[in-house]
């Protein structure tokens, strides 16, 4: 590795699909770090789910050797960042490990919501930003318009933008040169006590957790006692190395360098992103600011469809957690759905990924309750409790008020879609913050209750804007809101799995929709079934499933009892998948269809 003055640490950030992965592959190929074909294979091997979904959740950090035009050998460390809003904390930590960032803008699309979000994250991290205009090979590419947006929206110097085609390779050498010329070399004191930032990690069954680090001060080498400053644990460093992109052990990593270390750490949760690692014998004075636990924002109950799969679900979740410190889960019992887990996720995408991996890699079939957020309940006794499961809400009498998490959302869209977007925002209890015209497009910001965003917001936004609107959001704060718990009752017995917390203004509409849906899927029983939606003891919507009137096979001809019994046995078989709520039998499909809404 080159000495610090000839090291450049950088990230690539972009709105989804603007070409981040393509450019990364190009850079790898051009510097000879890897041949392009192999690069694809590598990514495929590690996380085909991401590839299939077209989203990069985690990529690999790689160290690129580069001979610059000045004839010197440089080491360019490309530090990859997760590409989705669910993971903005992780992005911020990766950026903190860099001195510069390539900000890609698609020449045909222009600046989008995540371009802006990433731009702000890069600014916060004090990075040198190199704007890159990609896809100039496309016929509809508007390089000049994109330059203007970069100047107007981002306030960057438009002349600094490098037009490239990551696909065909045009301009990519200029990008490499700009990295060397514009991004400052890492500062830092190799003689000072060790101070390294954890910006990523993964679990390896043989070596334990492999921790990605950026060394700011000092040096780290094998045998050193490493202190993790957030939890006070000490581990003996077993190996240090760099990614070429294969893991290659080196003697040591010193100030300015990027690489990995292993130290027999058992779970990624023990060395979380944002952690500061120092020398236990000669610790640095203060850890990096900004460390926080990645907090789950979205919660849902996961239940195996087959009761017998509970243990397998637990095992599968344990395995996933080895590598996913943001995933939380705890056992939960539902009267209606049996035994399962309350799981916490960073966001909806994270939830989908976990669900898909559980189903695909572990062969589980799951029922997932509708996602909810974590509410803060301030009780009349002045206590604050956090609730992530609506059925755990304290009785109304004990609640002083409830606070719900809000996000600030940023939406980019062509002007023509403004009206429907405002209507959608209103429907979702959005509070308008700002509006900015950018030629033919607008940038609108709103504050939303997170709960409104996690249900069907993104899909609706996409559909009303014919796919043109882009969205980004960030946690803002908890705010008091007029929230109520809406219970669904079958002949007076609450169906715990179907309780939801909703804004009072929407309770009626929601209650009506849910009761109607249930009426359609609950079979008639021997008695009338009243389906009620209630807030506390007040019923706000009601539907009835009439009692079955007759069910009789009058004739048992010629003593053919066997046939008769078999018909009954078949009916009995069909009832196996029924869950009992009080005396009412509810088919499993009924839960599914309601939860899916």
């Amino acid at each position: 590795m080159a000495p610090p003055p000839r090291i450049r640490n950088f990230s690539i950030v972009a709105h989804i699909d603007h070409g981040k992965s393509t450019l990364a592959d190009r850079l790898l190929a051009l510097t000879g770090a890897m041949d392009p074909k192999k690069a694809v294979d590598q990514v495929l091997d590690s996380m085909d789910l991401e590839r299939e979904r077209g989203i990069t959740i985690k990529q690999h950090t790689v160290c690129l050797p580069n001979r610059a035009r000045d004839g010197q050998e440089y080491t360019l460390n490309l530090i990859d960042t997760p590409g989705h809003v669910d993971f903005s904390y992780e992005v911020s930590r990766s950026l903190a490990a860099c001195e510069g960032a390539l900000l890609i803008v698609d020449a045909a699309q222009g600046v989008e919501a995540q371009t802006l979000a990433n731009f702000f994250l890069a600014l916060e991290a004090n990075l040198t930003i190199i704007p890159v205009i990609n896809k100039i090979d496309l016929p509809q590419a508007d390089v000049e318009g994109t330059r203007r947006q970069i100047a107007e929206i981002l306030g960057l110097n438009a002349d600094d933008a490098i037009p490239i085609s990551a696909k065909v390779g045009t301009g990519v050498p200029e990008v490499l040169e700009a990295i060397v010329q514009r991004i400052p070399p890492p500062a830092g004191d190799a003689a000072a006590p060790l101070k390294a930032l954890v910006f990523d990690s993964f679990y390896d069954p043989y070596q334990g957790v492999v921790v990605y680090v950026r060394v700011f001060d000092g040096r780290v080498r094998r045998g050193m006692p490493a202190l993790l400053m957030s939890n006070g644990r000490v581990y003996e460093v077993q190996q240090v190395g760099v990614f070429t992109p294969e893991m290659k052990p080196v003697e040591e990593l010193s100030a300015g360098q990027v690489g990995y270390l292993t130290a027999g750490i058992k779970r990624v949760a023990d060395a979380k992103v944002g952690e500061t690692i120092t020398d236990a014998l000669r610790p640095t004075r203060a850890p990096f600011p900004g460390y926080r636990d990645a907090k789950p924002m979205v919660f849902a109950g996961l239940y195996p469809v087959e009761d017998t799969a509970y243990q397998s679900l637990r095992d599968a979740l344990e395995k996933l957690r080895l590598n996913d410190s943001a995933l939380t889960f705890e056992p939960e019992t539902s009267m209606a759905l049996g035994y399962g887990f309350r799981c916490g996720f960073l966001g909806l995408l994270h939830m989908e990924i976990v669900q898909e991996r559980l189903e695909r890699e572990f062969g589980l079939t799951l029922i997932i309750t509708s996602p909810s957020v974590r509410y803060r309940v301030v009780t009349t006794g002045g206590e604050t409790v956090e609730i992530d499961n609506p059925s755990r809400l304290p009785p109304i009498g004990e609640i002083d008020h409830i606070e719900e998490p809000h996000v600030r959302a940023s939406i980019f869209a062509p002007t023509e879609f403004m009206n429907p977007i405002y209507r959608l925002a209103q429907d979702k209890r959005g509070e308008h913050r700002s509006l900015e015209y950018l030629g033919k497009r607008v940038h609108i910001t709103f504050d939303f209750p997170l709960a409104e965003i996690i249900v069907d917001f993104y899909d609706r936004l996409k559909s009303i804007s014919k796919g043109y609107a882009s969205l980004d959001y960030d946690f803002l704060e908890f705010r008091p809101a007029d929230l109520v718990k809406l219970d669904l009752l079958l002949n007076g017995d609450p169906v715990d799995a179907l309780s939801v917390i909703v804004h009072r203004d929407k309770a009626y509409e929601k209650g009506k929709a849910l009761t109607e849906k249930l009426r359609a899927v609950i079979p008639r029983q021997l008695f009338e079934v009243a389906i009620q939606a209630a807030i506390g003891s007040r019923v706000i919507a009601r539907e009835t499933v009439k009692a079955i009137r007759k069910n009789v096979t009058a004739k048992c001809y010629g003593g053919d009892i066997t046939r008769k019994r078999k018909l009954l046995e078949q009916q009995k078989e069909g009832k196996k998948r029924m869950k009992q709520v009080g005396k009412v039998e509810v088919p499993q499909e009924a839960f599914l269809s309601v939860l899916r809404s």
């Binding site: 021997l526 007759k550 009789v552 009058a554 009892i561 066997t562 009954l568 005396k583």
Partner: protein, 387 residues
């Protein structure tokens, strides 16, 4: 359940606790009714002859069993098909043979199902002299138009005449079969049929709600004008009321009788007692084994020609199945079952009681008339889950 290709592998050995019933299936009709899915085919004299020869052989084969001499037959039921296609002499031969191979109780109830168009006074008298003491007349409806739609070969008037002919012939135990829930049958139409039939003064009345089973013409082709559930339910209740007012006892889900005239043969089924099944497709129950004869007449005859019993399927009931059957069958009767039989289902019994579907008295559980109407839903709950 066991389905065996080697019927001889099963041993049928009645416990002999009660007199046996004997069901005899006559698998021919002049014309198949449109709602009918039973095992029957077109009537041809030659086929009937061949079949009767096989049937006698089946009785003989049964009579060879070492237990045959020890059991008594308490009821005989000729069903079909159209048993009234039989000449009195043919019936006499069959009854004689049964009496010869098994002991036929002197007081045995012997029933023949009759279609009005094939029942004359002479035939009825011939049957009576042959030993038949009960006739069940397939009237189905007293609406002329409906009878045509059903594919019946008689008019309401002919049905009435057949009934009177049987009376004239000295048959003092007559039953009438009716069907409700028929296409385009409204409540007044149904009540007219019920009133009309009751006015004849039959000792017994069977009334079935129409079901379209696989194998029937209406099941295959569909049928327009089926009344809705409300109407069918109302027909059930009006029948129950009219029969009660006329002095009949609603002693089984679909059966009504004057005092002392319940069908003894049908009660053999509901009490889970034993019976022989004779003829193609006939079912029997002996020594805890339910069995069924092969259905195609040709096959039935061929097997008997070859000297084998014509059993097609059999099922050796497990203890749990027997228990479930006894409760389910027993609850079809207004007598109900001993309370102890349902002790393990106490919560169900309790909730059915609350819903007015079941009554508990004198240590017995009985379905109410409302319970009869929902009996399939209740019976499902009484089955034991399959292991």
């Amino acid at each position: 359940m066991t389905r065996s290709d080697q019927p001889s592998a099963v041993s049928l050995q009645p416990t002999g606790h009660h007199p046996l019933g004997a069901y005899v299936h006559i698998p021919f009709c002049r014309q198949r009714c449109h709602y009918c899915s039973f095992n029957t085919g077109p009537y041809r004299p030659a086929a009937m002859d061949r079949f009767l020869a096989a049937l006698l052989r089946e009785i003989d084969r049964g009579g060879e069993a070492e237990w045959a001499g020890r059991v008594t037959i308490g009821t005989v039921f000729f069903g079909g098909g159209t048993p009234s296609l039989l000449e009195p002499e043919e019936l006499e031969t069959l009854l004689d043979r049964l009496g010869k191979r098994f002991a036929l109780a002197p007081s045995a109830e012997v029933t023949v199902e009759c279609n009005p168009e094939s029942l004359t006074r002479d035939k009825a008298e011939g049957y009576r002299l042959a030993g038949v003491n009960r006739l069940s007349l397939g009237v189905q409806s007293l609406d002329a138009g409906l009878l045509v739609r059903l594919g019946r070969l008689h008019s309401p008037e002919e049905a009435r005449r057949a009934f009177e002919a049987a009376r004239d012939a000295g048959v003092d135990n007559l039953s009438v079969d009716l069907i409700y829930g028929l296409p385009d049958l409204d409540l007044p139409g149904w009540e007219a049929t019920v009133r009309g039939a009751l006015a004849w003064g039959p000792e017994h009345l069977s009334a079935y709600g129409l079901t379209l089973d696989e194998g029937s013409r209406w099941h295959g082709e569909g049928v327009a004008g089926l009344p809705d559930e409300e109407t069918v339910t109302a027909q059930y209740w009006s029948l129950a009321r009219l029969a009660r007012e006329a002095g009949y006892e609603h002693y089984e889900i679909s059966n009504y009788a004057r005092h002392g005239f319940r069908s003894r043969h049908n009660q053999v089924y509901w009490r889970a007692e034993e019976y022989l099944g004779l003829g193609p497709g006939a079912c029997g129950f002996l020594g805890g084994v339910r069995y069924g004869n092969v259905k195609p007449v040709e096959r039935y005859c061929a097997m008997l020609d070859a000297g084998t019993l014509p059993i097609g399927t059999h099922e050796i009931l497990t203890a749990a199945q027997r228990k479930a059957e006894r409760r389910i069958l027993g609850l079809r009767l207004s007598d109900g079952v001993p309370f102890a039989w349902l002790e393990d289902k106490a919560p169900l019994v309790e909730s059915w009681k609350e819903l007015g579907l079941l009554e508990v008295a004198d240590d017995r559980c009985r379905l109410t008339e409302a319970g009869f109407l929902l009996s399939d839903s209740l019976f499902v709950e009484l089955l034991e889950p399959r292991s």
